[in-house]
Amino acid sequence: MNICVAGAGTIGSLLAAHLGRVTDVSVLVRRADHARALNSDGLRVSGRADFTARVTAATDPADLPSPELVIIACKGSDLEAVADRLRGEFDGATVMTIQNGLGAEEIVAARGDWPLLSSVTFMSGTRHDDAHVEYILDTATWIGPYRGTTPADARAVADLVVTSGLKAEAFDDLRPAQWSKLIFNATVNGVAALTGLAHDYRFAEDPLGPLVHALVDEGKAAAAAAGVELWEDPWEMNLLATQRGFRHSPSMLEDVRAKRETEVELINGSLVREAQRLGVDVPLQRTVYALVRGKEASYT
């Protein structure tokens, strides 16, 4: 099986390297020096695993072997640009999105008639350089059908990901899991980005705990209005994550520290817009959304 990973940030690098141990993997990147580094050095993983995988990398989809599966692993803020480059390419391949938030599938669906899988991931790492990623949190990736795919297709990809050494689980309907993660991310990433706090016990105690709880409650009200029965309670996810003793810096916090554009539109923006469409008032989520956007505006 030939797999193309489009976008080699932290998540893309972790997937490409692991899958590269069990099947042929190509990587689509934006920069020529990034492609050169991967082609000459391979892709090194440290942390929870320690190996270097051989991958084929290019900046142009036409230079890559024709894949059966494409995993678009770029950040949500780059998704439109990456999806634009795939337009007209990789005919017959199944395409899987893995971005945070809601709406990634629609963005890709509008640019081609590939069969689509949806996924969300909880794993995390740190990208040290173009050809070296550290695997930190070995939490799962959840995969489900979206358009023109079946639960069996999702299971096949999940099995392959598991074989490669990562954790994955297939769902017949991903929306309950996706909404759980959306509410969790909108709340935890937003609060972390605004306060500068890594995700730790303070998100469950005074003075921030009650705010985190209230933000989660607003998200749950929106999910209920959407007819989604959540896979996991995002407040319980918050408690569990803060109890494991590891102080994770959410990507949105990393982004504002580096004064980079964040994923606030795909995460908080999509939650607020979806709630509005459903007629659910989410004043606190709206507050976090407006404040993070304001913080982005302050870079310039």
């Binding site: 306060t195 500068g196 507050t287 959304y289 404040l291 505006a297």
Partner: protein, 305 residues
């Protein structure tokens, strides 16, 4: 008349130096900064900017040196009120103590240490340039009023008259809560938004989503004021839009943003925290002020991680 300024930072220095110009007022200043106190005693307290003043006064870091005073004017940051009045209360055993501090709850703290308290709110602003020298940025009015019936209005009028003669226009009113709450609501609805985003006042106001958040905070503050029977002397919204103009305070970085950039403890407990506290006492929900309070507390916590 003998007046002691308790906390001789920027705002305290404006009162101290201006009052010291009057022949009938003896001014003392109590401050924690040894350098500032020494400079004041050696060269006088100098203001420049909106007014050029050199005031001659006695400054000390040792509260035991203070003689009995007719009036105190407390101008510390709100989180230092308790320590400052605790140290100096003996000087006001027969006097009256006014607060010109930001936020809510200062009068209550003063009343735990001294008998007679004067509520106050002030708009002039400045910053310390160097020890003994303060930049006077903004002129503005001060309003004073009795905290309770242990302070007669005439006593407040005497202090207001001295401040006005010294160059700090001051009104004495029977109920100073209106101007105080207008300023608190203004500060609580704008300062933390600047502090959390890094944006100046003008840039906060030109973003529709943030301007709507500011109005949401103002509305909660107004509801808490109304529940206590307080009539605001003006609409904080007008002050907010006025300040957002290019030639007024568009580029102003809120003091709380300056605090956050310097990693100094903010006055959030006395602004949004105060609105939440008074709201709870009067059964008025304040979810947005509570959220903003928690976020800024989180920012303060992040400096310890």
């Amino acid at each position: 008349m003998r007046v002691c300024i308790v906390g001789c930072g920027a705002v305290g220095s404006l009162f101290a130096a201006n009052l010291a110009r009057l022949d009938d007022v003896e001014v003392w200043a109590y401050d924690a900064s040894r350098e500032h106190v020494d400079a004041i005693n050696e060269q006088g307290l100098r203001l420049s900017g909106a007014g050029e003043v050199v005031g001659r006064l006695r400054a000390t870091t040792d509260a035991a040196e203070l003689p009995p005073c007719d009036y105190g004017i407390v101008a510390t940051k709100a989180m230092h009120t308790d320590a400052a009045i605790g140290a100096t209360a003996h000087a006001f055993a027969d006097g009256y103590v006014a607060t010109v501090q930001n936020g809510l709850g200062n009068e209550e703290t003063l009343a735990q240490h001294v008998e007679r308290v004067i509520r106050g709110t002030t708009f002039p602003a400045g910053k310390i340039l160097e020890p003994g020298h303060v930049q006077w940025d903004v002129k503005g009015d001060t309003t004073l009023g009795p905290y309770d019936d242990r302070t007669p209005l005439e006593v407040v009028e005497t202090l207001a008259d001295a401040c006005t003669r010294g160059g700090m226009p001051t009104h004495a009113v029977a109920d100073a809560r209106g101007p105080q709450w207008r300023k608190v609501i203004f500060n609580a609805s704008t300062n933390p938004i600047g502090a959390l985003t890094g944006l100046t006042h003008g840039r906060v106001c030109e973003r529709p989503d943030l301007r709507a958040l500011v109005s949401g905070l103002v509305d909660e503050g107004k509801a808490v004021a109304a529940a206590q029977g307080i009539t605001l002397d003006a609409d904080p919204e007008e002050l907010i839009d006025h300040a957002a103009q290019k030639h007024i305070a568009y580029d102003h970085k809120a003091s709380m943003l300056q605090d956050v950039e310097a990693r100094r403890q903010t006055e959030i407990d006395y602004l949004n925290g105060g609105i939440v506290r008074f709201g709870r006492e009067h059964g008025v929900p304040t979810p947005l002020n509570q959220a903003i309070w928690a976020l800024v507390k989180g920012v303060e916590q992040s400096w310890q991680q």
